[in-house]
């Protein structure tokens, strides 16, 4: 077991490293090879008021006068050594921009993740145990509804109702606890839907197992059966999904932060796109890939330890509703 697990862990880690490097290369190619050439457009834009000397400096720093493949190698070398370059817009180091924005986004995404798990568990519990068949049916269609509402509509409706009409929070102070909670709710709603789907399916499966029946026959109440026996096996596949959800949280942050006026990574991306700030875009996208790959690697490394039934030699199977 330990020997094959060590081999498995090493292989997965190597694979993760390859994916991160490839993601960097892919992003680089998309940004610099596709038509438009943002950097030169950006530099030539008279609005930036860059002198010829400054342009020369930037061109030299990014090696823009060299062939693409050389640029790529230089850029990759800087990335590997942790140098993310400078923002073309503000001239600040990208690492500083990202570092300043990160706490806000982490708070938002963390709250959203917690909220989405709560919402998903509540929906799954209701679908399984609500007394009225009608109510169960209505609740069963909630995940599908959540998947059909655009993120920005949820945000705007929440702001319209709770900020403008009920004055529960104000958009002037987007970092207040109440405003953060509503922003997180906006982000949590589409994310909770697939989690709820997986939980519903697994809960249904687990509650048909004999051990659940035995527990019921011993006189356990539904709530206790749910809390003591069913939650754990139903959550395992959901944990694997949470890793996938992290990516969605990062993507959704672009819209949510823009709507709520928060200064986070999403806003950094949105500004970078509007001003074609290539180094910032490249850095944020690569970091997103690093985060996603790392979280998945951890999930893959931890799950065989949590659940001995998983065989590390065969391919891992994640239950994801398509």
């Amino acid at each position: 077991m330990t020997k094959s697990y060590g081999r498995y862990a090493l292989l997965r880690a190597a694979q993760a490293l390859v994916v991160v490097l490839l993601a960097y290369i892919g992003t680089f190619l998309v940004i610099s090879v596709l038509p438009g050439d943002p950097i030169t457009n950006m530099l030539r834009d008279p609005q930036n008021g860059l002198s010829d000397d400054q342009i020369q400096q930037i061109v030299a720093h990014y090696g823009l006068d060299k062939p693409v493949i050389i640029q790529l190698i230089l850029s990759l070398g800087r990335f590997v050594t942790g140098d993310l370059g400078f923002s073309l817009q503000s001239n600040l180091p990208v690492s500083q921009l990202v570092g300043d924005a990160l706490p806000s986004t982490l708070t938002l995404a963390g709250t959203a993740l917690a909220l989405s798990v709560v919402i998903a568990v509540a929906i799954a519990y209701g679908v399984q145990y609500l007394p009225s068949r009608w109510a169960r049916g209505v609740l069963r269609s909630v995940p599908s509804l959540f998947l059909s509402v655009p993120n920005f509509v949820v945000g705007l409706v929440l702001i319209e109702l709770f900020a403008f009409r009920l004055h529960t929070f104000t958009t002037i102070d987007p970092d207040s606890a109440a405003a953060t909670l509503f922003a997180a709710l906006t982000l949590a709603i589409p994310v909770s839907a697939p989690l709820a789907e997986v939980l519903i399916a697994n809960l249904d499966h687990e509650s048909r197992q004999e051990y659940a029946l035995v527990a019921r026959s011993r006189g356990l109440s539904q709530a206790r059966l749910f809390a003591r026996h069913l939650v754990k096996p139903s959550m395992l596949p959901a944990v694997a999904m949470i890793a996938l959800v992290v990516g969605e949280l990062l993507g959704g942050a672009v819209i949510t932060e823009t709507i709520f006026g928060r200064d986070g990574l999403g806003t950094v991306v949105q500004k970078a796109v509007t001003s074609q700030d290539v180094p910032v875009l490249q850095a944020v996208v690569s970091l997103a890939a690093v985060v996603f790959v790392t979280v998945n690697l951890l999930a893959d490394l931890v799950s065989p330890l949590l659940d001995p039934r998983l065989d590390v030699k065969s391919e891992r199977k994640v239950v994801v509703p398509v």
């Binding site: 490839l22 038509p35 059909s148 409706v157």
Partner: protein, 283 residues
């Protein structure tokens, strides 16, 4: 075991028995009607409204929904319903473009990986891993920022960000079909690989891929609306659904400018998702 579970929930057996006969549930019928109306809006918008989407009467600006203006009017006095109806073509076409890109490229990648296995599978597998590693909305944003802010580019970006999902499903389906007895039988009867692929494997994969394509059509509408909302699509006076919501948010006194197009997006995507779920369950 079987008898115990049967005792537990007898209603499930009844439901299973009823589902075995192919019939269209009422919600699916409603969803189909919605989709047909939306498609008609995009093909022949002038049949549904007598108003011009780009000409407004400033004397009637920001009026609430009424019998004359179903969705009210905007800050230039333009009929919002007309703008929604005329904006449908762009929203629907770009979603179709996006799904086509994801479906065709993703299916080819998945088919090659699953059927050829070996080195091809390893290389394509890493490509798919990379596409999955970048959050799909972020990927779409980066691609559209590189291609330029136009609705067609937003559609292409959305399509590329969906390739990985199609590739993964197709690969899994091909692997499943390839290991089945009828493919083995086809080889035993002297069929070659191409015959097995076209005659037996592909026909057994398309149903779940079609269900995913329908689902992705809904998702693409959402993603493209989100990109338009951020201003990465065609600029006004275009009236993509997402753009309508974005321009409506500046007028707090006229919430119908947000609610009307938002409702159209939600009902459309909900209908698409309903049909996709039904397709998946009745295979």
């Amino acid at each position: 075991m079987t008898s115990l579970t049967a005792l537990l929930r007898p209603s499930d057996r009844l439901r299973a028995a009823r589902q075995s006969a192919v019939r269209v549930p009422p919600t699916v019928a409603v969803a189909a009607v919605v989709i047909v109306i939306v498609l008609l809006w995009s093909l022949v918008p002038w049949l549904f409204t007598s108003f011009d989407p780009s000409v407004g009467d400033t004397a009637e600006k920001l009026t609430a929904p009424s019998g004359a203006h179903w969705f009210g009017t905007d800050h230039l006095g333009r009929d919002v319903f007309a703008r929604v109806v005329y904006g449908t073509a762009s929203s629907v076409t770009s979603a179709l473009v996006a799904v086509s890109i994801g479906l065709v490229v993703g299916s080819i990648i998945g088919l090659a990986s699953g059927f050829l296995r070996g080195a091809v599978d390893v290389v394509l597998g890493r490509v798919v891993d990379v596409l999955l590693a970048i959050p799909s909305f972020l990927l779409a944003v980066v691609i559209v920022s590189s291609l330029g802010f136009q609705t067609i580019n937003a559609a292409i970006a959305t399509g590329v960000s969906a390739i990985a999902i199609f590739a993964r499903l197709m690969r899994a389906e091909v692997l499943r079909a390839r290991g089945s007895v009828f493919v083995e039988a086809s080889y035993l009867q002297g069929g070659n690989r191409l015959h097995a692929l076209l005659g037996h494997i592909l026909p057994n994969t398309y149903k779940s891929v079609v269900a995913l394509a329908v689902l992705q059509f809904g998702t693409s509408i959402l993603v493209i609306a989100s990109l338009a909302f951020l201003g990465y699509g065609d600029p006004p006076p275009a009236s993509d659904w997402g753009l309508l919501v974005a321009s409506g948010k500046s007028y707090a006194t006229a919430p119908w400018l947000i609610y009307a197009p938002a409702l159209v997006i939600v009902i459309t995507v909900l209908s698409v998702n309903r049909i996709s779920t039904w397709l998946r369950r009745t295979r």
